[in-house]
């Protein structure tokens, strides 16, 4: 087991495209770090740099005490689970798991013991003699995990391992991966584009965009104090409402908004953020420090436990989403007033998108 650290890591492709910019991440021993971001943000490239499948242009990658930049993938003491599993199609499940150990000259009886142990943990013992094509998607996923486990590596790397599974299986496997990682206590890096997966799995959540880190920290920190509009809209579903506001005498100024006193809006205006789940229906006046929003309901989605209410404000295509508990009896076309308390309001720079204050 070991900690993994990246310091000032860059990746520049021949031709000058900078895929990864100056990244610093430190993952303590046994922690699970999730890299999340939209496609093309450099998260997979970063993972592959840790694996040794891509060269590191600049900076250091350390596993434990050693710098591994110049080591072959097989010498870094890592194991990787691929998105499409990358199982050897002509080998049995057993051989798939044993292949890496055999290449390292592990004694036969130890290979046997490790493979059986991994198969038992992952509940794939009955399939050891089958070829991958005779397995279901979920079973293949388990074999891919098994191939990683038997190696007893210092670091696990997961490259969107669940994205080829159907929704139900994905949730089930997500829980299992978390449990397994905890039980084995292996430092792990996990890449996904699914923010929910990222939130539920991560000890350390790293949100990436365009090759750099937007924010890193615990999932709840990122949820409660997003460092930028990018993080704000990426973490949480439905995404945070982001409303451009002007600086009024007593607070934010925008069509349909009231209250919000105490928010320090810069003279040039700002972006006001409020999560849909923090909006409550109000009747009557809104306290001065809360934010009130009034808008005509355009659509209502009732999913049982909660209700999503949509509507326009300001007349320039800006849309508000409110996530209300239980069944909200609202008819499309009627106006509704919602409000959020002061601690649930976020303010971002309207130019850079960076968080203001707090």
């Amino acid at each position: 087991m070991a900690e993994l650290s990246l310091s000032r890591v860059r990746k520049v492709y021949p031709g000058g495209v900078e895929a990864v910019k100056d990244i610093d991440i430190a993952i303590p021993d046994g922690a699970l770090c999730v890299l999340v971001g939209p496609s093309g943000c450099g998260k997979s490239t970063l993972l592959r740099m840790i694996a040794g499948l891509e060269t590191i242009t600049e900076g250091d990658c350390r596993i434990g005490a050693g710098r591994v930049n110049d080591l072959d993938p097989s010498d870094r003491d890592i194991a990787m689970v691929f998105q499409n599993y990358a199982l050897y199609p002509h080998m049995t499940v057993y051989d798939n798991m044993a292949y890496g150990l055999r290449n390292r000259g592990t004694p036969k009886d130890e290979i046997e013991a490790r493979v059986q142990e991994a198969a038992r943990i992952l509940e794939i013992s009955p399939f050891l003699d089958r070829k991958p094509r005779a397995l279901s998607g979920g079973q293949r996923q388990r074999v891919a995990m098994g191939r990683a486990i038997v190696r007893k590596p210092q670091v696990f790397l997961f490259d969107e391992p669940l994205s080829n599974l159907d929704a139900k299986l994905r949730i089930q496997m997500r829980v299992e991966i978390k449990k397994l990682q905890r039980a084995l206590g292996v430092t792990s890096v996990y890449v996904t584009h699914d923010q929910l997966e990222a939130m539920t799995l991560a000890d350390i959540l790293v949100v990436m965009s365009k090759g750099h880190v937007e924010q890193q920290g615990s999932p709840l920190d990122l949820y409660e104090k997003p460092a930028s509009t990018f993080v704000a809209s990426f973490i949480g579903a439905p995404p945070m409402n982001l409303i451009p506001v002007g600086a009024g005498e007593n607070g934010p100024q925008a069509a349909g908004l009231t209250g919000g006193r105490g928010l320090a809006i810069p003279p040039g205006g700002a972006t006001l953020g409020v999560r849909p789940e923090h909006l409550m229906v109000v009747a009557g006046p809104v306290p001065d420090d809360s934010l009130g929003i009034t808008f005509p309901v355009s659509a209502v989605e009732a999913v049982g436990a909660e209700t999503f209410v949509y509507g326009p404000i300001g007349g320039n295509g800006q849309e508000i989403i409110a996530r209300l508990p239980g069944k909200a009896l609202l008819a499309p076309g009627t106006p509704v007033s919602v409000a959020a308390t002061a601690e649930h309001l976020h303010l971002f720079d309207s130019q850079t998108g960076k968080r203001l204050g707090q």
């Binding site: 072959d72 097989s74 890592i78 691929f82 199982l87 292949y99 890496g100 191939r147």
Partner: protein, 291 residues
């Protein structure tokens, strides 16, 4: 304008047997020459000469095939070597060409696909261009090259120049491009270098392609004509196809047709058996090599 559904359509009844009849005719045209050749190979020469020739097998099969295999046939004053010797030559030629081609093209395709190195594309085009230089267009200079290398009338001369093949290289290249990148990466993490990856992963995955190519290349090697005619001028080096054609006296002199037909049957049996026994791979091979 559609016909009412419930009226029995006499047309479709009539149509039902038309395909079968047409296909039966096709099969007849395919099989008839083979049947006649087989029948002739079981008759004595006088029986063949009595027009019309019988269309049912005679009782000379043992004698004819025995004589052909052990003594050879003749046309005019030319005497061919025993057919078994020529079959041996054909077998050596067909197997060497098939195996040799598969080995050198799988290696070169592996190099071109799985590595990056200077002049990679130049080499690829060099191989590709050989498609446009069949033996037929370089007859005389090729013989000079073979003579200079002392390869006339040797198995090496009969086979080595034919084992360079753009078709097989292209086929393997096509297949290698479909191997997922992640498989290569998984192998790297599992500690497999390029040759280990080749042996443990690429080769086993290529088995059906190799089988398909083998069928096509076996036919190609066995059925060669111009090349052995040029290189195997010595009777000892004759292939069975060449030997059979030498038994026919094209000047119009007397020909031992029972010998010719017995030899023809022996010459066509191996490739036909390979095609029938390995039909699945044969069809795959045909389709893939034409891509």
């Amino acid at each position: 304008m559609a016909a009412p559904l419930d009226t029995p359509a006499p047309k479709s009844v009539r149509r039902d047997w038309i395909p079968h009849v047409v296909i039966a005719i096709g099969i007849f045209i395919t099989a008839f020459p083979l049947w006649v050749a087989f029948v002739a190979s079981t008759l004595s020469n006088p029986e063949i000469a009595q027009a019309p020739m019988p269309l049912l097998p005679g009782n000379q099969a043992g004698a004819n095939y025995g004589e052909a295999l052990l003594q050879g046939g003749r046309s005019g004053r030319i005497l061919t070597p025993p057919v078994w010797e020529m079959m041996l030559n054909s077998t050596v030629m067909a197997l060497s060409i098939a195996v040799g081609k598969i080995i050198i093209s799988i290696l070169s395709a592996y190099a071109v696909v799985f590595f990056r190195f200077p002049f990679r594309m130049a080499f690829f085009w060099m191989i590709f261009i050989t498609l446009m230089l069949p033996v037929e267009v370089r007859i005389v200079p090729t013989i000079q090259v073979i003579t200079n290398l002392n390869m006339m009338n040797t198995y090496a001369g009969l086979t080595i120049p034919l084992i360079a093949s753009a078709t097989a290289t292209l086929l393997f290249r096509q297949f290698f491009l479909t191997i997922p990148d992640e498989l290569v990466e998984a192998a790297k993490i599992d500690g497999a270098g390029p040759m280990k990856f080749f042996r443990d992963v690429v080769l086993p995955l290529s088995v059906t392609n190799i089988a398909a190519l083998f069928v096509i290349l076996f036919l190609y090697g066995w059925n060669q004509y111009l090349w052995p005619l040029l290189i195997g001028t010595d009777a000892r080096m004759q292939t069975i196809v060449i030997g059979m054609s030498k038994m026919i006296d094209s000047a119009g002199g007397p020909t031992d047709w029972n010998m010719v037909m017995a030899t023809a049957i022996l010459a066509l049996l191996p490739p036909v058996l390979v095609v029938i026994l390995m039909q699945r791979w044969f069809v795959k091979g045909l389709v893939e090599t034409e891509k």
